[in-house]
């Protein structure tokens, strides 16, 4: 986009230069015409002058005008050549610069995409690990609950019938002493 804008800008400058040179040529031709008119009016003043002299002067003048015109056209042509070359060189430079910029941009984008891909993979791995941990914890909690209920059921069926009041009392007082030793109070 930037490249196209720059090309348009260069073309406008070139077109303006051509218009300016055309105006310069027209101005030169107008000046030449005025010079011829002045000479012709001067020549009219020479009454009964020699026709041959007149013809020679006219021929010289014509040659001089032709030389001047050729000179102007040559100059114009040289300027045009130079400006055209300059313009195309600028355009070529610009194209090269844009090409390099694009190459660098593509490389950078490739790096960014690679980094983003790595990040996405890492994030997915972390997420999966977290889910696995949560699943593991939930399953362990379930196993714990099952263990407690199995123990409780077995105890109710078997052990509670074998523990009498004196055993209970002994275990309770023992628990109080252990709590005291554990600095619970």
């Amino acid at each position: 986009m930037d490249f196209l804008l720059r090309m348009n800008y260069e073309l406008i400058i070139l077109f303006s230069l051509l218009v300016f040179l055309n105006l310069l040529v027209l101005l030169s031709l107008a000046l030449l015409y005025l010079k011829i008119q002045k000479f012709q009016s001067g020549a009219k003043g020479i009454a009964g002058g020699d026709r041959r002299l007149k013809a020679k002067i006219a021929k010289d003048l014509e040659k001089k005008a032709s030389d001047q015109l050729v000179g102007i056209i040559n100059t114009y042509s040289q300027i045009l050549d130079r400006e055209t070359k300059k313009h195309f060189l600028a355009v070529a430079d610009d194209a090269l610069r844009q090409s390099r910029y694009l190459a660098t941009f593509v490389q950078e984008q490739e790096k960014v995409i690679a980094k983003e891909s790595q990040y996405l993979v890492a994030t997915s791995v972390v997420k999966v690990q977290k889910e696995l941990d949560e699943y593991r914890k939930a399953e362990l909690a379930k196993i714990n609950t099952q263990i407690n209920s199995i123990i409780s059921e077995v105890a109710k069926r078997v052990l509670s019938k074998t523990v009498d009041l004196s055993n209970h009392q002994e275990l309770i007082m023992e628990a109080l002493e252990r709590a005291k030793a554990d600095k619970l109070f």
Binding site: I147, I151, S152, A155, K156, L159, H168, M173, A175, L176
Partner: protein, 162 residues
């Protein structure tokens, strides 16, 4: 005897959290009875309206001239008493069976001997703990039950074998 000593005497016969809750309710009732205008003295008015234990404490305080005499002073006293009773610490004990009173007294005596402050017992029953006791006190929890011990042993066996 200062007011704090008077307030502590209201805990003499309190052992469980249920006893304490009932005592707080009775003190609220005492406040209501203060303004009952039946021509009787305060102690005569409350005699058949509160538990014998509380009546005995109030009577002994009155005899020792430790109980305020005017209605407004009594109101302040009972308000302070209610607030004091509400702040008494308690310990939650989970047992495998409903303990007989003798065992509850034994436990209460143990706390009386081993803890500086009066502590009331909140007793819960969970058969599945098998035997022993779970104790919760001041935000701390300790499982000294047989279920806890068995569970711990089983978890250790499983963790070494899985």
């Amino acid at each position: 005897m200062n007011q704090e000593t008077s307030l502590i005497s209201f805990l003499d016969d309190i052992i469980t959290y249920g006893d304490l809750a009932a005592r707080i309710d009775e003190v609220s009732e005492l406040n209501r009875l203060l303004y009952l205008n039946d021509g009787k003295s305060f102690t005569a008015r409350i005699a058949d309206k509160i538990s014998p234990g509380l009546f005995k404490i109030i009577s002994s305080l009155e005899q020792a001239k430790q109980l305020p005499t005017t209605t407004s002073e009594l109101e302040d006293f009972f308000l302070s008493l209610r607030s004091y009773l509400g702040k008494v610490p308690h310990v939650t004990l989970t047992l495998a069976f409903d303990p007989p009173e003798s065992l509850v007294r034994l436990i209460a005596d143990w706390f009386g001997k081993n803890l500086a402050a009066k502590t009331v017992l909140e007793i819960r029953v969970r058969e599945e703990i098998i035997a022993g006791m779970i104790i919760e006190y001041n935000g701390k929890y300790k499982d000294y039950s047989k279920m806890g011990q068995l569970g711990e042993a089983l978890r250790q066996v499983l963790s070494t074998n899985i």
